[in-house]
């Protein structure tokens, strides 16, 4: 293993901050809207469709949100890598 490249402090903290925010959303859309609050949300409908909101989050919405989260993370991290000059050639 080579010695670690010297990195300006702040890179790892910024990474952890992104993770905290994105994983909170991850938790909220799946365990929150899809499970814990599903019964309450089922009192509402996704406008113009037959979906009860809690059911929709559990079987559709959470999956769409997961996808968005990963692509947002990729963008954020690629930008952060460039900012700190640690991107790959």
């Amino acid at each position: 293993m080579t010695s670690p490249p010297s990195v300006r402090p702040g890179y790892w903290t910024a990474n952890l901050r992104y993770l905290a925010i994105l994983l909170s959303i991850w938790f909220l859309v799946s365990f929150g809207c899809g499970i814990l609050f599903a019964d309450a949300l089922n009192g509402f409908r996704i406008p113009g469709t037959g979906f009860k909101a809690g059911f929709w989050f559990a079987q559709q919405g959470a999956i769409y949100a997961f996808l968005v989260l990963i692509f947002v993370y990729v963008r954020l991290m690629n930008r952060l890598d460039r900012e700190y000059g640690v991107e790959e050639e």
Partner: protein, 573 residues
């Protein structure tokens, strides 16, 4: 052409395609064999990961399970997709930067311990074998139903194909074959789904059709299904009947288990750069999501169709598919009240005078997807296509798992522990021998299933969640985590989870009810508790033992930064 002729033709064409791809992309070095030379484009890797991940269970069983479970089926949908967020954010980029070949490589090196490596190898082999036996069984079912050959022959043919391209092609052959298999399986899944969606709701997009109105009654499809369920004494489709805590635990165990499965993790070693590892988790989830957002729609279409087709119909007049599946014992009808009509009802069903009605129909959940095109009266080629898709899903997953077993034996055990001086050529020979051995053993298990394949698959998730996931996460995010903590954590997590599952499934199955479960968490979800135990034990033990050596601290610093991946971390194999 009839159904059987179509099935033969489509299956033969798809098999020829896989073999052609495997010959074109065979492996020449151990790097090719284990990680496809690390030269796979992220998009192709995403597609291969999707095919690898979506097994016969996703393709054949999942929509059927959801059709019978309703809202409770959401645990599979969220559980088997949400894990990719954890993979992309917490594991894939760091493991790619670490840049070896296998998961035990990471565990062994990060925790500077052969014991830790051996514990990891044993977990990897056990998890992969339980999985692969299920895949071979899926192959057997498709062959026996659609090609009318005995299950043994079906398994043997499947083994032959996998043997050919896994042993010859290694990861490189498997990756490009899986790309082809993804295309076959997603096409085979979407065509009947789109047909059904148009037939039932008039909307060609199944994800929208699911929220749309039924063409016949004009009511929303989901409301209509809830109504039918109430009328027939089932729990409402959109409500479900498991406890919230259990749903929570099962979902968490499946998510974390997904992120801890060695055959999924290993895929992220195959791409050229760290940034490719991040994005290829995204592509993988996109390709998986196409099927996973369609599955709940297929489930509702199938459920509605089934209730409309069989409920209160005279048994004499059942359609042809009903009789075909009866012959395979996957549908059974017993006329309890002697009226000649089929009563397909739930536990709460009562008739007009308030007396309970007995259910007369049992349907194996696994046949919903396979029978769906026939139930809806779709053309014969669609039925054949579904068979080819089911085979693609089973074979691609089996091949990926066999590679994990083979690399665990030749790379982690032989080179890593017993014969460190082995040459590259020798290691490649051993990799092929162990792949061949694994194929034969998997085939044997497929023909003589241990009787608990379905349960053991859930078992594999629980074990992965309770063992690998915490060990890897702590290895990346905690510099202080040491050998003692990781080993103690992995062992306590695994032992707790395994003991709980074994107790309720084999020692005392009579007690396997919600009243006796720990906090009402079923054995399916207990891996989540096992994971928490692993984290806590690892934390306590590591604080009370010596800090890891300095070079481990440098290793952790190094994997946290993308720069310098690739050649700098090349292994001289």
């Amino acid at each position: 052409m009839n159904v059987q002729a179509w099935t033969f033709t489509l299956v033969a064409i798809s098999f020829a395609l896989y073999i052609g791809v495997a010959v074109w992309s065979r492996a020449n070095t151990t790097r090719d064999f284990y990680v496809a030379g690390k030269g796979v484009h992220p998009l192709a890797n995403g597609m291969a990961t999707a095919a690898d991940w979506m097994s016969a269970a996703s393709f054949i069983s999942m929509a059927g399970l959801i059709a019978f479970l309703g809202y409770d089926g959401s645990v599979y949908l969220m559980g088997w997709t949400g894990g990719y967020v954890l993979l992309a954010l917490l594991l894939a980029p760091y493991l790619r930067k670490f840049g070896r070949y296998t998961v035990p490589d990471f565990v062994g090196e990060r925790y500077y311990s052969k014991t830790a490596r051996v514990v990891a190898v044993v977990c990897a082999i056990f998890i992969s074998f339980t999985y692969v036996a299920g895949q071979m069984r899926g192959v057997g079912i498709v062959f026996s139903r659609f090609l009318e050959v005995p299950i043994e022959w079906g398994v043997a043919i499947g083994m032959g194909i996998v043997f050919f391209y896994a042993v010859l092609g290694g990861m490189k052959g498997i990756t490009y074959t899986q790309v082809a298999q993804y295309c076959v399986l997603i096409f085979a899944y979407m065509v009947p789904a789109i047909f059904l969606s148009i037939l039932i709701t008039g909307n060609p997009v199944p994800q929208l059709g699911l929220g749309g109105a039924d063409l016949v009654s004009g009511e929303y499809l989901l409301d209509r299904l809830d109504g039918l369920h109430e009328q027939l004494g089932f729990a409402a489709y959109t409500d479900g009947s498991k406890s919230t805590l259990d749903i929570f635990a099962i979902t968490a165990a499946l998510m974390v288990g997904t992120a801890g499965l060695p055959h999924v993790i290993i895929r992220f070693y195959t791409v050229p750069r760290v940034r490719d590892a991040r994005i290829s988790a995204g592509w993988a989830l996109l390709f998986i999501a196409i099927l996973y957002t369609t599955a709940p729609a297929v489930a509702v279409f199938a459920r509605t169709n089934l209730l409309n087709t069989v409920s209160e119909q005279p048994y004499e007049a059942v359609p042809e598919w009903f009789t075909t599946w009866e012959n395979t014992d996957l549908i059974a009808y017993e006329d309890h009240n002697g009226d000649g009509l089929i009563q397909f009802v739930g536990p709460d069903a009562i008739d007009d005078s308030g007396r309970p009605v007995e259910n007369e129909l049992t349907i194996d959940r696994d046949i919903m997807v396979l029978a769906n095109p026939e139930i809806a009266g779709l053309p014969a080629w669609v039925v054949g296509l579904v068979a080819a898709g089911g085979l693609a899903a089973a074979l691609s997953t089996a091949a990926g798992l066999l590679l994990v077993v083979s690399s665990a034996i030749s790379h982690d055990l032989l080179k890593g522990v017993f014969r460190p001086g082995i040459s590259e050529r020798g290691e490649l020979v051993w990799a092929r021998i162990s792949a061949a051995f694994a194929v034969v053993l998997a085939g044997y298990l497929g023909i003589n299933p241990p009787g608990f394949v379905a349960q053991v698959v859930a078992f594999a998730f629980g074990l992965a969640a309770a063992s690998f996931f915490p060990a890897i996460i702590l290895g990346i995010f905690s510099r202080r985590m040491n050998r003692e903590g990781a080993i103690a954590g992995m062992i306590s997590g695994i032992v707790f989870t395994a003991a709980y599952i074994i107790y309720f499934n084999y020692v005392n199955p009579a007690a396997n009810t919600a009243d006796n479960w720990f906090l009402g968490i079923s054995p399916e979800g207990i891996g989540f508790v096992g994971m928490l135990i692993n984290f806590v034990v690892a934390g306590i033990v590591s604080r009370s033992s010596a800090a890891p050596p300095e070079e481990v601290g440098r290793l952790v610093e190094s994997i946290r930064v993308p720069k310098g991946s690739g050649p700098a971390h090349e292994v001289s194999a």
